[in-house]
Symmetry: C2
Subunit: 250 residues, 2 copies
């Protein structure tokens, strides 16, 4: 039975998509069967594997609104990817009146959990119905945090939302870890931010750190993870280390 | 009568808040009366002026859902700020069934337009009801874009949304300009991104460029714009130049 991990933080641009993709590929590289699910209407995870979200004919929209099986929207790339499309932006309104709308993804995921060891779910930068579906379907949550003041403030809101999910929808969902991303370790601002993280969240903060590297911005242009785009580079190592840490938690 | 400018891009972390705040302060510095409205439930604009969104008793939530006057939620800081709070995350659901829910902000802004020369509206990283309200109330839209592949792809979605707003809600709303932000001009990736922007959008791309500077991350910690935090620094100059360019469009 797969371990389901959601990547969530309502703050925008903190490397949710970059982390979901590169960790998924690193887990695959170490021999696991891995599925990545794109729950963001922007479709950045889908694009990052070379698929045009505007050209797919079935997507996560159909899984959530028309109860299509996840298997029908999976494209095989470096990992299996359940693709997104712009229709997904309309899913919140289409599901607004449906009974059990928060559990749509959980139902779809439970049907195929036997096929994988890890399922990684990328979410949009909001705490709306799409992210609530992901947190309800997940066992664990990885919270990427940019080491800057504005991005740290959102963590309290996220913790409050997780508490609500635990009380009403998914009693077992927990934070797997808080991941410092886009780290420019030369600046005092980043060092101070990490100290604050560790003071407030202690062991919840991963040992792994993802430093700033331009390869992360270049790789999506070629529809590749950094592990494929620059396999011997530092950027790939950061996510291989994270994969080792996640596997050690098993 | 104030010129109303919305700052929008559903891609997260592209400097929407940083641009809305620092341009507003630069316009104030050159002698204009300026109001900034925080339409993001994260409340980053509110925080960036030293106000705790969790402690305000009235906010944009009350303006949208209870038709309170904007004047009641304005705090005077470097500029006037109409504050946000976490309640705003519930505004979309609270307004879902209301008639004219897309025009709530437009109505509130029209009541006070006479008091200001510029009104700057910060939006969350999504194309939901809060951002639709901002685009309906606006005369112009400034689109901050990080000079990276993933952030460029979202521009087509944004243009489609703007076309829908023009056809149904606000025939006059136009793009004031596309602003390259967080620019690290040493990388080839950024240079290529700007070339693509200028090829696709021509004159819509501002001459001004906002380069990467750690001062942008430091200033919000002190509840200040970069113009106040580091008045003689480069970071402040980027936004003073942008203000000149926006004023020259008048
Ligand atoms: N460690 C890193 N170093 C440098 N750039 C990075 C790093 N991680 C991600 N990036 C780049 O930063 C940008 C934001 O990352 P990404 O899109 O993964 O964030 P996100 O949280 O998924 O954004 P959104 O909130 O819009 O979904 C992207 O252009 C990505 O290529
Ligand atoms: N030119 C810049 N150079 C370096 N850092 C910057 C620059 N502009 C903004 N930042 C920092 O980058 C982060 C993202 O900026 P900001 O929060 O303004 O983006 P946003 O688009 O408003 O994000 P969201 O989508 O979450 O609303 C912030 O920590 C900010 O301090
Ligand atoms: Mg993303
Ligand atoms: Mg913002």
């Amino acid at each position: 039975r797969a371990k389901v991990i959601a990547f969530a933080n309502q703050k925008g641009g903190v490397a949710k998509t970059t982390t979901a993709l590169n960790l998924a590929v690193a887990l695959k590289e170490s021999g696991h069967k891995v599925l990545a699910i794109d729950m963001d209407p922007q479709g950045n995870l889908t694009m990052s594997q070379g698929i045009d979200p505007d050209k797919v004919d079935k997507s996560m929209f159909d899984v959530l609104v028309h109860e299509m099986s996840l298997r029908e929207v999976i494209a095989e790339r470096e990992i299996d990817v359940a693709v997104s499309s712009i229709d997904l932006a309309g899913a919140e309104i289409a599901m607004a009146a449906q009974i059990g709308r928060e559990r749509r993804l959980q139902k779809a995921v439970n049907e195929i959990r036997g096929d994988y060891d890890f399922i990684c779910i990328d979410t949009p930068p909001s705490l709306g119905l799409l992210t609530i579906n992901a947190l309800t379907a997940a066992d664990k949550v990885i919270v990427p945090v940019q080491c800057e003041y504005l991005s740290m403030r959102g963590l309290m809101q996220l913790q409050n939302t997780l508490r609500m999910i635990r009380e009403n929808l998914n009693p077992k969902v927990e934070i797997e870890g808080i991941l410092p991303t886009m780290l420019d370790s030369r600046t005092v601002h980043a060092k101070e931010a990490i100290e604050i993280l560790e003071e407030n969240f202690g062991d919840l903060v991963f040992q792994s750190r993802i430093k700033k590297a331009i390869k992360f911005a270049e790789a999506p242009v070629r529809g590749a993870s950094v592990l494929k785009y620059d396999p011997k580079g530092k950027a790939a190592t950061y996510y291989r280390d994270l994969a080792k840490e996640v596997i050690s938690h098993e």
